[in-house]
């Protein structure tokens, strides 16, 4: 791993390349579209031809950040520029001496970097979580109680004749602008009419409006009625008796609508309930479990196949959950402090550990949200930031005690990302990095820590 100066000289020595890149993977939203065509000219990405306004703005913003990072220090001590090697040594030393280190795992990095991050947590006997946001906690606990039924998105495209969008806007103006374009509108092998051959239903609970793909039915319920609604639907699907009048009174929706919805779900040849970040953020454990059980029961009591589909946010949280799964046996909230991985939902969640002052050193990998860092302000553990914008003034919301910049994970680093349906995809490096990648940085850090006497080579 060379210094920033060395890498810059090497980059400058090479002639600028003008090239058109096809089948580029975009991590800007949970769709992880991998069919983009971009032009890279003299080190600049031209995404104007990309058929997604969200991706266009993401590439503009990310490239602007890359430009600013290239002017920023490669490493810092308390906000002041410092040589990378010196900071790396200090980071290694501080982590090795830590009483209760905590790693905020890289949810925006490649799986290669994520593997290195979990390896580092093992070396350090540290805690590791997928970030400070509670998002995902209830979903995983529900899955571990009830199981889950899913499918890769090509299955939806090929087979889905019924699509229930629950608090998710799949239209071009929504947070997943191309999902419908790619997976609902085209004809599928078993749905030759494309979107016209699919029944699309909408249910809004935590969002303030029904939006997205034009649907046949739109149902709006209050958040406090979500659990009762799920329970009633499950009973209807199982063929049980439900007081539809009472349900209508509770939800404000007519009784016949619920009966019809249950019938439609049961009659699907291949049905799918699509949820997104809103559901993930708001649904309780009981509601998540109710949804998973409803989907499973539709396979038992329905006419055909039924699956769930979760569309995540941008980045690579599914990748980190998968890596934690195969290296530590759990998707999040893992604690290595007993020299082996323990899955401790709630107790080992990063937000809890920081709020309770249980982490004395935090290694945050990747960009952190302002709210995350505001929370960290209160207890102020020793804060180490590794990531693309780690040394950008003001980007962190607090000044990290130690910071090291890395290549942009989507534009410069390359590697593997995972869609929330479990499909792995490659990331194409678009620009020559002037920083080490996060995978390289974490591996170098691990080696240095081992040399200082931690327990794993």
């Amino acid at each position: 791993m060379g210094s920033r100066q060395t890498m810059r000289e090497e980059a400058d020595a090479k002639p600028p390349i003008e090239r058109q890149l096809t089948e580029v993977t975009c991590a800007g939203c949970g769709c992880l579209c991998d069919d983009l065509t971009l032009r890279v000219q003299t080190g600049k990405i031209d995404a104007s031809g990309v058929p997604c306004t969200l991706a266009q703005s993401m590439y503009v913003a990310a490239q602007d950040q890359v430009h600013r990072v290239r002017q920023a220090p490669e490493a810092q001590i308390a906000g002041q520029p410092a040589p990378l090697a010196e900071v790396l040594g200090l980071v290694a030393e501080r982590l090795t001496r830590a009483r209760a280190p905590l790693i905020l795992g890289p949810t925006e990095s490649s799986m290669e970097a994520q593997r290195a991050a979990v390896a580092l947590a093992d070396v350090l006997s540290a805690g590791i979580d997928t970030g400070l946001a509670a998002s995902g906690s209830a979903r995983w606990l529900a899955r571990q109680r009830a199981g889950w039924v899913g499918a890769t998105w090509g299955e939806i495209k090929q087979r889905a004749d019924l699509v229930l969008c629950w608090d998710v806007d799949l239209g071009p103006g929504g947070p997943h602008p191309r999902f419908a374009k790619r997976f609902l509108e085209p004809p599928g092998r078993f749905i030759p009419e494309g979107l016209a051959g699919r029944t699309v239903l909408h249910l809004a609970c935590w969002s303030d409006r029904v939006a997205g793909v034009k649907g046949e039915t739109a149902i709006v319920i209050q958040p406090s009625h979500a659990l009762a609604t799920l329970a009633a639907l499950r009973t209807l699907v199982r063929g049980g008796l439900v007081d539809l009048g009472s349900l209508a009174t509770t939800t404000g929706q007519p009784a016949h609508l619920w009966a019809k919805l249950a019938q439609q779900l049961k009659a699907a040849r291949f049905g799918v309930i699509v949820v997104g970040p809103i559901f993930d953020r708001h649904a309780s454990l009981a509601e998540c479990e109710g949804l998973e059980r409803l989907i499973a029961e539709l396979n038992v009591f329905g006419q055909g196949r039924f699956v769930g589909c979760t569309i995540g946010q941008g980045g690579n949280r599914p990748g980190l959950e998968a890596v934690l799964g195969w290296q530590a046996g759990a998707p999040r909230a893992v604690d290595f402090s007993h020299k082996h991985p323990r899955y401790l939902p709630l107790e080992a969640e990063a937000s809890h550990r920081i709020a309770e002052g249980q982490a004395d050193v935090v290694l945050a990998i990747g960009p952190q949200q302002a709210a995350t860092l505001a929370q960290a302000h209160a207890t102020r553990p020793f804060w180490i930031q590794i990531g693309h914008n780690a040394t950008l003034a003001g980007s962190a919301g607090l000044v990290p005690d130690l910071a090291m910049a890395t290549a942009h994970p989507w534009l410069e680093a390359g590697g593997t990302v995972m869609r929330s349906d479990g499909v792995p995809l490659p990331l194409t490096p678009l620009l020559r990095p002037l920083c080490p990648t996060d995978a390289q940085m974490l591996e170098r850090l691990r080696r240095q820590i081992v040399e200082q006497g931690a327990r794993v080579p």
């Binding site: 199981g147 499918a151 090509g154 299955e155 799964g325 195969w326 082996h340 499909v423």
Partner: protein, 551 residues
């Protein structure tokens, strides 16, 4: 006279190397630079730099697991589904120099490698990887140290294969399979319930009435898929033939379709996986009607040398069922009422994961246990039957020592048999079978045989040129203890386990094949893929190699 720094000598052990007909005391030499077994040096004064005194010990090649599930999306989903498994079995906290992990029926990757090595196994074949997830699976295999490994890719419900075979275009199916093996960096092909997963995904039934029912929308039958894939594997000269999980897995009465499939193969090579689960008589809709139907099937295997089997032995206790046969996952969910994970994979396959506990007082489970053992005892040629539990379906691979002990002792089998339900004892012929495996036969079904079945010419034996993968056991009347705790395990000439302690964790090799094919097939594959798949064509497959040497 000085020590030759590159040599390891294993002195005076009781070497059991069935491939070369060796069952006696001799010295074994390994060149540690190449990691290969070499002939004893011509100069009798040659000294090895590392000498392992194996006098009084049993020396075998490293174990070869022909069929297990240790990597990829299905296995990882099971880990995420079942954190309680990790808690129940305690952690793997192996101290310095190693990665920690979890144990149980679905251990984490590092733990998987260490535990296989700890049992004296040096190779494991993951038998069911969805090609779409090959990139993920290779990541996991890179994180599975100490053993060599490889993967079989699922092809029995692949739309392109079924389209080609339905159209009578065998050559296209064959060329596609060759292309698929190359881009996924896989070792062989597996058919799981050929056509049946696709039919189930369309809302179809679990059970096939005959092997000639068409798969809706594809104009092809299970019989045609089976023959097409077996023929393709033969024509491509794959080192391992078609690996088959048949129809109606786990259902009473499935022996009829198993026999019909074997007859259909008509001389083509094939390996029947976890055949125990495919060997039941009875009525498909009456689980309690299950009766063993091994005799006729085993007789057929005995009479047809192109066929081999692994057993998929059930051992009593808690484990995790996982299969690409999505319909079976739903069936088990309904039967057991336990949590269920299912994932359909576009154009290729499905998946089902359900926790399961095999109870010796349960009629079905008791008969499954007995049926598995019957297979080991009824196949007359041990080279044609491999030891497996279909890890983790019948039991975790960590139960292998117990299984070896059962094979070597009728008394031990009788002890377990005696506590089975009376109805199971009445239906099973196990008690009348007195055969006991010898050490040589154990070495065949755990090493030499599976290596031969997989076409691994340089593994599973200790002749010159073989990988220096050696397991040294302390003889013990308690065979479970003997096979559970090797004194030494050596991988490519390096001691990796010494008296239960992991000493080294080489990365291990990932084996793959890349058969030649007619490149004209690629545009057609691309057209089909771009029409139906959810990812770009160039992103399909395993991606560039990042780990250690592959073959």
């Amino acid at each position: 006279m000085s020590a030759n720094l590159s040599y390891m000598m294993i002195r005076g052990g009781h070497v059991v190397d069935p491939t070369h007909g060796i069952d006696g005391v001799l010295d074994l030499w390994i060149d540690r630079e190449t990691g290969r077994v070499v002939p004893a040096p011509a100069d009798p004064d040659t000294k090895a730099e590392r000498v392992i005194d194996a006098r009084g010990y049993v020396v075998m090649p490293g174990g070869i697991d022909i069929h297990c599930h240790i990597a990829g999306s299905k296995v990882n989903a099971a880990r995420l589904l079942r954190p309680e498994e990790a808690r129940d079995h305690g952690p793997l906290s192996p101290g310095s120099q190693l990665r920690s992990g979890t144990r149980g029926s679905i251990p984490t990757t590092f733990s998987t490698g260490y535990q296989y090595a700890g049992l004296g196994y040096t190779f494991a074949m993951d038998a069911a990887i969805a090609p779409l997830g090959a990139r993920h699976a290779h990541h996991e295999l890179e994180d599975t140290p100490a053993i060599d490994k490889a993967m079989l890719i699922l092809a029995g419900n692949n739309h392109f294969v079924m389209d080609c075979l339905g159209a009578g275009n065998h050559a296209a199916a064959r060329d596609y399979i060759a292309w698929l093996l190359g881009v996924t960096r896989a070792y062989g092909i597996k058919a799981v319930n050929p056509g049946g997963v696709e039919r189930w995904k369309q809302g179809g039934r679990l059970a096939w009435a005959t092997v000639d029912e068409p798969v809706p929308g594809f104009g092809v039958t299970p019989r045609q898929i089976l023959v097409g894939l077996a023929r393709a594997a033969d024509e491509l000269k794959l080192p391992h033939p078609l690996h088959l999980h048949g129809l109606n897995l786990g259902l009473p009465g499935n022996a009829a379709s198993t026999l019909e499939l074997m007859q259909t193969l008509n001389g083509h090579r094939a390996h029947l996986a976890h055949v125990q689960f495919m060997s039941y008589g009875g009525d498909p809709v009456q689980p309690a009607s299950i009766v063993p139907a091994v005799a006729e099937l085993a007789d057929f295997v005995n009479a047809h040398p192109a066929l081999t089997v692994d057993v998929g032995q059930v051992m009593f206790g808690e484990t995790t069922s996982m299969t690409a046969d999505g319909a079976v996952g739903l069936f088990l969910h309904k039967v057991t009422g336990r949590k269920w994970h299912s994932q359909d994979v576009e154009q290729e396959t499905g998946c089902g994961v359900v926790p399961i506990r095999y109870e010796d007082h349960n009629l079905v489970h008791a008969l499954q246990w007995a049926i598995g053992l019957e297979w080991f005892l009824r196949v007359s040629d041990p080279w044609r039957v491999a030891l497996s539990t279909d890890h983790p379906n019948g039991a975790a691979f960590t139960a292998y020592p117990q299984l070896m002990a059962l094979l070597m002792s009728k008394n031990l089998r009788d002890e377990v048999f005696a506590r089975l339900p009376a109805a199971a004892r009445e239906r099973s012929g196990l008690a009348a079978m007195g055969r006991e495996y010898s050490l040589t036969e154990i070495a065949i079904v755990t090493r030499a045989g599976p290596a031969r079945m997989l076409g691994l010419t340089d593994r599973g034996h200790l002749g010159p040129g073989a990988h220096g993968d050696v397991t040294i056991y302390a003889p013990d009347d308690d065979r479970t203890r003997m096979f559970a705790l090797p004194r030494y395990v050596i991988k490519d000439g390096q001691v990796i386990v010494d008296d239960g302690e992991i000493r080294a964790t080489p990365q291990g090799h990932t084996l793959e094949v890349a058969p030649e094919f007619d490149e004209q097939i690629v545009p057609a594959v691309r057209d089909w893929f771009e029409r139906d798949a959810s990812i770009a064509f160039s992103h399909f497959g395993a991606g560039p190699r990042t780990g250690e040497e592959s073959r």
